[in-house]
């Protein structure tokens, strides 16, 4: 019995930092911007990680707007491709927000990160610097509960507006919390169905208003 070849990418050890690393791409390596950031902002740049030729810069949360504006003005990072929240599920600085920036003129990509505490997670908004951040920040607020200070329209993106939870947080159960998302009423002005498995519990939705349902009396 011969063994099958099994190729895998090791998770814990970084790959070789050479151009022959299949994951390494020259576009994600931007030492110029990183060194300029370190020079300009000093301690506000907390950590620079280079993995598989990608630069990730962890910066101080309070200075993210300043740093983004600097990169936009001086290094051509005019395009915010993505922004999102990460639940690290750690004791300190539980939530993280990443910003993927693209410079179209220099063909570079740079990732910025900020971290925030579990109690009252607040990050300054980037929606005035990059207009694309508007909906991304609404999504991060909806899914993670990270509040973006200064955002002019921080409503939920996907979930109903009266939903009480932030479903992408790690403590949120995958199947949801029963009763938190109502099903529609069977007739106008009727009671909302709070049981998500109403059909399994014997409820039969009515076909039209004229019809009397068996479950109405119950």
């Amino acid at each position: 019995m011969s063994s099958l070849p099994f190729d895998f990418t090791p998770v814990d050890t970084p790959g070789p930092q050479t151009p022959d690393n299949p994951h390494a791409k020259a576009t994600t390596n931007c030492p110029d911007a990183v060194s300029a950031l370190q020079e300009q902002f000093g301690d506000a740049v907390r950590e620079v990680v280079e993995y598989a030729n990608e630069h990730t810069v962890l910066v101080e949360r309070d200075r993210i707007v300043e740093i983004a504006e600097y990169l936009k003005a001086n290094h051509g990072f005019t395009y915010l491709v993505d922004l999102g929240g990460i639940d690290r599920f750690t004791e300190e600085e539980r939530f993280e927000v990443f910003y993927n920036l693209v410079s179209i003129t220099t063909r570079k990509r740079l990732r910025l990160k900020v971290r925030t505490e579990e109690e009252d997670p607040v990050v300054p908004t980037l929606s005035r610097t990059y207009r694309s951040a508007n909906w991304y920040e609404r999504e991060a607020w909806d899914m993670m509960g990270i509040r973006f200070e200064g955002h002019e329209d921080l409503r939920r993106m996907f979930m109903p507006e009266d939903f009480e939870y932030h479903p992408q947080r790690k403590e949120f159960p995958l199947l949801g919390i029963p009763g938190s998302l109502p099903l529609p009423a069977q007739r106008p002005g009727g009671e909302l169905t709070m049981d998500p498995f109403a059909a399994a519990h014997g409820s039969k939705p009515i076909k039209s208003y004229e019809e009397t349902s068996d479950t109405d009396d119950a």
Binding site: F158, M159, P160, P167, F172, P173, L174, L175, G176, I177, L181, P182, L183, P184, A185, Q186, R187, P188, T193, P196, F197, A198, A199, S203, K204, P205, I206, K207, S208, Y209, E210, E211
Partner: protein
């Protein structure tokens, strides 16, 4: 003298229910509630290759007022459910509903907080189609099942409980043919 002889050729006597049901079942206008990838198969179902015009249902009506068959194709979120139910409520009676695909029928692979685990939690589904997504033939089969259901229903009396006589709605001496409870093909004549 029998009625047919007095009327001559070109006339045919039948029951009103049979005529109405024949017309209804062969002119179903689907309301395409395409929510996900099943909608693509639903388009194929309506398009020339599978040609649902053979069954009289090629006219997809995007207005609920003009539709009488809702095909819920794809997974339905809790947020969307309110819109779907509202559209269903706007459809005129009589109306029918098909849950197309695994997601609409049971939630399918979307076993998570945002997706309804089967649209029968808020809609009265007549026919469920398995598959992910179902092939257009399966949708046609479901449509034929709906047609079968309509033909075995009785239409003029407007009662929703099949196999039971509507109380107090019929004039004295009329005859109503209804399907017997568990066997839809067997008809029972009520004097």
């Amino acid at each position: 003298m029998p009625l047919e002889q007095s009327l001559g050729e070109g006339f045919l006597t039948t029951r009103v229910d049979a005529v109405v049901n024949w017309a209804r079942s062969n002119s179903l206008m689907p309301m395409p509630m395409g929510l996900a990838c099943c909608a693509i198969e639903m388009m194929a179902f309506a398009a020339p290759k599978y040609d649902v015009a053979r069954f009289g249902s090629e006219a997809m009506r995007f207005s609920p007022r003009q539709a009488d068959l809702m095909i819920v194709a794809g997974w339905c979120s809790y947020k969307m459910a309110h819109a779907v139910r509202r559209i269903w409520d706007q459809m005129a009676d009589p109306k029918w509903c098909i849950a197309m695909g695994a997601c609409a029928s049971t939630g399918g692979m979307h076993r998570c907080y945002g997706v309804i685990q089967g649209i029968d939690n808020f809609l009265p589904v007549d026919v469920y189609i398995p598959g992910c997504p179902p092939r257009p033939e399966a949708v046609i089969h479901a449509l034929m099942d709906i047609q079968e259901k309509i033909r075995n229903d009785y239409s003029v009396a407007q009662d929703y409980q099949s196999g039971q006589l509507p109380e107090g709605r019929l004039p004295q001496g009329s005859h109503v043919v209804t399907p017997a409870g568990d066997a839809p093909s067997k008809l029972v004549v009520h004097p």
